[in-house]
């Protein structure tokens, strides 16, 4: 290496950056910079994108062909009915799995010197996390589109018109976005990338399986059925089935099952507000 040559003549002074008093505008700008960076980073490791997309497709194929023949949904055991029933569950499960990516990526950043760089910059405090979760949201949207196409190939359809279908997708993606904030909170809390990627699995599997996603909770033992009925994850799945017009909409007197669309919205917003607040606070006080 040759010694870098540094001009001794004073370089034109860079204007001291405007005293951007922070505020919402700066917050959005900074988040976009971080989100772009994260998306750029994704394109450098295309394997991650490919694996993220393939996994749910395998789930669709596995569930619909392995379980398809032996599941009774809405009084029929026809595999085609189960496939229509299943798809919303897979959509929701897929977006919830994005938690793992978020928490792993954030923990990775936190464990490197990069986070000290960010924290020493005059940037909006929440931007590192908002940017990351926004990038996850983009990736998640693509995954859901791919999944919808695969679903259509195995016989899944929506029956209530495009606006309601879009609303259903919106709720699913909002749920996923909420869970990226859960991931962010885990990511800033554990700060070892390995722990961050494995810890979420401990509760993601129970959350997605003790629900109405793959089976009818009506056949569970009573206490498990209550858990399933009040599970935020179930609310989104139920809302999706209603809005897509898919079979297996659950009749239950649990409030979230009767008001699934509203319940799904409330759950997701509450999760976002709580986890975002905690995660940003933790991030501010974090020391790598």
């Amino acid at each position: 290496m040759t010694a870098p040559t540094v001009p001794t003549t004073p370089t034109a002074p860079v204007a001291v950056p405007p005293r951007a008093g922070g505020g919402f505008g700066q917050s959005v700008r900074d988040s976009i910079v971080i989100a772009k960076t994260n998306l750029l980073r994704l394109t450098r490791v295309p394997e991650v994108i490919i694996f993220t997309m393939i996994q749910p497709v395998i789930f669709v194929v596995m569930f619909s062909y392995v379980f398809g023949g032996s599941m009774n949904v809405g009084g029929t055991a026809a595999p085609s009915v189960y496939r229509e029933f299943l798809m919303v569950g897979i959509f929701a499960q897929t977006v919830v799995f994005a938690t793992v990516t978020s928490s792993g990526a954030i923990a990775h950043d936190m464990s490197k010197g990069l986070i000290d760089r960010f924290r020493s910059l005059p940037m909006a405090r929440g931007a590192v996390l908002s940017g990351r979760t926004f990038a996850d949201l983009v990736l998640m949207t693509f995954t859901v589109i791919v999944l919808a196409i695969v679903g259509a190939l195995v016989g899944w359809r929506f029956h209530e018109g495009v606006p309601k279908a879009l609303a259903a997708f919106g709720l699913v993606i909002l749920l996923g976005y909420a869970f990226t904030w859960v991931g962010a909170l885990i990511g800033v809390s554990v700060r070892s990338p390995e722990a961050a990627s494995s810890a979420p699995m401990l509760w993601i599997l129970p959350v997605t399986f003790i629900s109405n996603a793959f089976v009818d909770p009506g056949q569970m033992t009573p206490w498990l059925r209550h858990v399933a009925d009040w599970n935020p994850f179930s609310a989104t799945v139920q809302a999706g089935r209603e809005l897509f017009g898919n079979p297996g909409v659950r009749t239950s007197d649990a409030w979230p099952m009767e008001n699934a669309v509203l319940a799904s919205l409330i759950y997701s917003v509450v999760i976002i507000v709580v986890c975002r607040t905690l995660a940003v606070r933790k991030y501010r006080n974090a020391t790598s």
Partner: protein, 336 residues
């Protein structure tokens, strides 16, 4: 000129460990202060408090004219930090890394882009600008990190062990960069475990140990505190050792120490080079052949041992959880 960095009574505890236990600092504008100390001395904790990464438990500090606790964002706008890790995103190219940092310093997209281009050339990264940082060598990563810290030409630079893990050639190159920077008027606070580095770069040195500043002054002042110069003689024949030691005793200023197996004799002296000539003459008159003779001035290593009773590098890992472990990381990373 006011002090660019001023700290009074900084304290930080981690649980029961008093990582920093009342540190005062004053760095006049345009000068370089070296914080010198072993692993776990509290250097990094001081740096983290001055760069707003950590809130002090007590005391206060002003950096670039702003209080670190009350106006952290004003401090951040005016400082550049180059931490112990090269803070570089592996999956971005050098150029993308710098542009991102520029934009987060609130430069416009265009300014950030232009500034990145200038700095890549200046730090000899032009050819590698569009390769991902993953492919960079340790020295290149360090330079990219430094470039990122200089995006807005900060008035105050803080560098935490900038050359840890670099080979001697890269270290020298980085020293050159740092010296140019200081010539341009930047105030610099630098931590190091390398005495040679503090000696080479810093105008003033604070020796830190166990969270306290145990000595401060210029390199020369500190060296003067560790006592005398010494003359070292290596005689050719083993049987000359006794005679030679008599000669050294008459010229010297204290005990003569003898290392039998290396035939080396050492004596503290005052009087420097002239005395050296006298000793050579005396030995010559007695027909004693010498293999080597030299005047040894105290190094900062001697200072450090005199002050702490420890050899700098071998100090015990007595600091808050894991800092010793993290210190090993950059080297590992670079070995990849």
């Amino acid at each position: 000129m006011p002090d660019a960095i001023y700290a009074e009574g900084l304290v930080k505890h981690f649980g029961d460990v008093r990582a920093v236990d009342g540190v005062d600092l004053a760095v006049p504008s345009g000068s370089v202060l070296g914080l010198l100390g072993p692993n776990g001395a509290g250097k990094t904790t001081v740096v983290r408090m001055l760069t707003t990464l950590l809130k002090p438990d007590a005391g206060h500090a002003r950096v670039a004219g702003f209080d670190v606790a009350k106006n952290p964002n004003d401090v951040r706008r005016n400082i550049g930090l180059s931490g112990q890790f090269a803070a570089v995103d592996d999956y971005l190219t050098g150029r993308e890394n710098l542009q991102m940092v520029g934009q987060l310093y609130q430069l416009s997209r265009r300014d950030a882009k232009a500034r990145a281009g200038v700095l890549l050339e200046r730090f000899d990264l032009g050819d590698a600008a569009d390769r991902t940082a993953k492919t960079y060598s340790g020295g290149m990563r360090r330079r990219l990190d430094l470039a990122a810290a200089l995006i807005v030409q900060p008035t105050v630079m803080v560098m935490d062990e900038p050359t840890t893990g670099l080979d001697p050639r890269n270290r020298q190159a980085l020293w050159d960069v740092i010296q140019e920077l200081v010539k341009g008027g930047t105030t610099l606070l630098l931590t190091t475990q390398y005495l040679e580095e503090a000696d080479h770069l810093a105008h003033d040195i604070c020796v830190v140990n166990n969270g306290l500043v145990i000595a401060r002054g210029t390199a020369d002042q500190l060296k003067a505190r560790s006592g005398h110069e010494r003359v070292e003689v290596v005689v050719h024949e083993r049987e000359d050792i006794v005679t030679a030691s008599t000669v050294l005793r008459t010229h010297g200023h204290g005990e003569v120490t003898v290392e039998e197996h290396t035939r080396k004799l050492t004596v503290p002296v005052t009087g420097g080079a002239r005395l050296l000539a006298d000793i050579i003459r005396s030995l010559d008159e007695l027909d004693i052949t010498i293999d080597d003779i030299g005047l040894r001035r105290p190094t900062l290593d001697d200072v450090f041992i005199a002050l702490t009773g420890h050899v700098a590098e071998a100090a015990e890992p007595a600091d808050a959880g894991g800092s010793v472990q993290t210190k090993n990381l950059p080297t590992k990373e670079m070995a990849k």
